[in-house]
Each structure stands twice: as C-alpha cells, then as structure tokens.
Symmetry: C2
Subunit: 251 residues, 2 copies
C-alpha cells in the first residue's frame, strides 16, 4: 500500500464500520463467563461474585465521567455529559444505577452494605477499572470520548441478559434487574451523542486510529474483568488472596 493509502482517513461510513467491527470481535458479550451467566449455567455463588466485582465498575463510572468533565472547557458539552453521572449516582436520596445494582445484590442474597464496602473485589478488577478511569483522565479528549463507545454494543447484551436472567434464575424479577432495564434507554441516548461527537472530530487517519485504539482498550477493560472472574470462580476456581469467598457478605 502506498503511504497516502496508509495515511488517508476512512470515509465516515468506513470509520463507523471499523468501530462496530471492534465490538463484533472484542465486546465482552462473547466472553465465556457471560455465556455461562446468560444461559443459566452460573451457580448462585458465581452470580454473586459477578455482582460484587461488577459493583466496582459501576461505582467508578461516575468517577470516570467526572474525570472527563474535569477536562471539558465547553460548558455545553459538560451540561450534556452530566446526565451520565446522574444516571449512575442518582439523587441525594434516591434513584441511580448504583442503587439499582445494590438491589440486584440484595436479590442474589448479598448484604448490600458488604457489596458497597468494596471488600472482596478481585485485585484484577480494580486494576482494569482503575486503568479506565485514569485513561479518561489523561488521554486526549477524542480517545477519552471514544472509549465510551462500547455503549454501541450494550443494548444487545442487556436484552440478552434480561431475558437470560429472567428465564434461568429465581432471583430475577423486575425489581432486581431494574439496572439493566434502565440501561436500555440510557445507553443509546448517550452513545448517539458520543458517536456523533467522535465521528465529527476524527477526520484524520491519526485521530481515527486513536479513537479505534481507545475503543479496543475499553473492550480490554471489560474483558479483563470477566477473565479475572472466570479464573477465580469457575472450575478449576482459583480465588486469589483478597478475593470474595463464597458465604462472605450474605444477607
């Protein structure tokens, strides 16, 4: 290929297709742990381990979004972005994805205070999630925004999950799975904005590459969390020191 061909940017359509292909190849809906979870193959303790570890990711999302906002000098962009924090944190007294996640925790028999204490979270979960927060704090704004585009792929997994949990697990009901139900409307609203923002700005090959790399990085952050979970809690289970031990933190 000539130098020009290597450095020419993709058309908007090709660039969007490139981003979507990353999801097709790397999004964590393909991870064996999710396939186990959604098909009813998880024991209640494996579900609990997932709920405990994923809680850490849930609580860091608003920190990630605040880190993003801390770098945005355009008040209009901040005003739009703030709803992400509101969706997850909720109000002072009620609402929000974090509280809905703790309903799920309760539904699977975990003490929500134990889950909220962040005790028992796998070190590898922390490392992956913290890497995401740091990335959004430190990377240029375009890749920082692009890393949120895994939401392009989220509605499909949420629909699969809602159906799978309801079909296979006694704990699943509209109250315990309300987190996922809310995400079905929240994520598409956010990602429509984010995708347009990225597409409008990633018009050089270098910026398109940076955006694609950021999205790949984010799929790695998600995948690594499930690898850690699988390694710790699926036979042959090897729970690392510090990881949640089944029967801890139960209601």
């Amino acid at each position: 290929m000539t130098h020009a061909a290597l450095t020419a940017p993709d058309s908007a359509a090709d660039f969007e297709a490139r981003l979507r292909q990353i999801g097709a190849e790397r999004y964590h809906d393909k991870h064996p742990f999710h396939q186990l979870l959604h098909s009813g193959g998880c024991s209640i303790d494996q579900v609990r381990a997932w709920v405990i570890n994923r809680y850490y990711y849930q609580t860091r999302i608003p920190m990630k979004d605040a880190a993003f906002m801390s770098r945005v000098s355009d008040p209009d962009l901040r005003r739009v972005w703030r709803s992400r924090i509101e969706d997850h944190d909720g109000g002072v007294n009620e609402g929000g994805g974090i509280r809905r996640w703790l309903k799920l925790a309760e539904g699977v028999g975990l003490d929500p205070d134990y889950v909220a204490s962040e005790v028992g979270i796998l070190p590898a979960t922390r490392f992956a999630v913290d890497a995401y927060v740091r990335f959004v704090r430190d990377a240029p704004l375009l890749p920082a925004m692009a890393s949120s585009l895994t939401e392009l792929f989220a509605p499909t997994i949420h629909k699969t999950r809602i159906a799978g949990l309801l079909a296979h697990y006694d704990f699943a009901n509209p109250n315990t799975i309300s987190y996922f139900q809310h995400r079905l409307t929240e994520a598409p609203k956010d990602v429509a904005f984010g995708l347009k923002w990225v597409m409008d700005r990633a018009i050089s090959r270098a910026d398109q590459d940076a955006a694609a790399a950021a999205l790949i990085f984010k799929t790695e952050v998600l995948w690594a969390q499930l690898d850690a979970l699988h390694s710790a809690y699926v036979a042959p289970a090897r729970i690392p020191p510090g990881g949640w031990q089944p029967h801890e933190g139960l209601l």
Copy 2:
C-alpha cells in the same frame, strides 16, 4: 514550645478560628481592585476587564468540581457535590452561574460570545485558575476539599458587591447582577457541608496544617487574579500581550 505542643492538634473551635483568620488576613475582599470596584471607582473598561477575566474562573469551577468528584469513591459524597456543578453550569438549555455571568457581560456592553470565547484573558489569570483545578485534581482529598472553604468568606463580599454595584454603576440591575444574588444562597449551603467535612476529618495536626495551607493557597489563587487585573488595567496600566484591549469584543 515542646515537640508535643507543636504536634498536638488544635481543638475544633481553635481550628475553625484558624481557618477564619486566614480569610480575615488574605481573602480578596481586601484587594485594592475590589475596593475600587465596590466603591464605584472603576471605569466601565475596568469593569469589563474584570468580567472577562473572572469569566475564566467561573467556567473552571465546574471543571474543578468534576476533578474533585473524579476522585471520590463514596457515591453519597458525589451526590452532594454534584449540585455545585449544576449551580454553575445549569441545565442543557437554561440556568446556571455561567449563563448568569454572561448576562453581566452583556450588561456591561460586552458581546457574550466574545467573553465565552476566552480570548483576551490575561495569561496570569489562566495560570492561577489552572493551578486551582490541578490542585483539586492532584492533592489529597482533605486539602482538595479545604481549598473550597473560601466560600466561608464569600457571602460578605457578595453583599458588599451587590450594594456597591447597584449604588455606583448604571449597568447594575437585578438581571445583570443575578449571578451574585444566587451565590448568596448557594455558597452558604455548600460551605456548611464542606466545613463540617473538613472539621470532622482534620483531627491530626498534620491534617489541620494541610487544610489550612490549602485554604491559603486558594486565597492566593483569588488574589493573584486581581493583582493581574490591577497591573494590566489600573493606571499605570500595562496590558500584557494577549490581554483584552478596551474596545475589543463590545456589543
């Protein structure tokens, strides 16, 4: 003094008095530029220069608060803190201190789009304000919180300013000065929370010293902005390269 006396913490009452004394000695209500402004001694161009430069501070406050939130793992604290961003940024379509500041800009004859473009802001203003955002992003949480406690001293200056502007300047009316009117209720609510948070946690001498140093730092950030303004726009005025030139950006 013995080592023990040097390292023993102040009582809560003494520590609070120490913080308040910092305001008494160093808050920017004592700066000659503010005394000029509040007594009607500023020319309209000097008011405009103040409005343009202070706009930069206004827009960075929500970034500073987002930087703080990006480090807060306690959802309850984030939920309380978020109202600061809401107060300044307002909603997607209306409200907020930044828009109210642009009303003031319009009232003094400046094109609000020019002011919002951040052209003409003194480099020293940027340096001081950016130092504040970085401090809150990087310092431990206790001094980061303590740096917000200049709000302890803000209601007095806002009352003086409202009265002074209304008494001395034709542009002053409830619409143009609504920013300050809102701060009269917003700042006390915020600082009551912040002061209690700091007092509850700064129970060692080292933490009390760090909190006091952070508050001093913040008074320096505010004072340096007025020094830059005074140097550039009060006779003998020396506007640095890049600084707003009177007659630029007018309506």
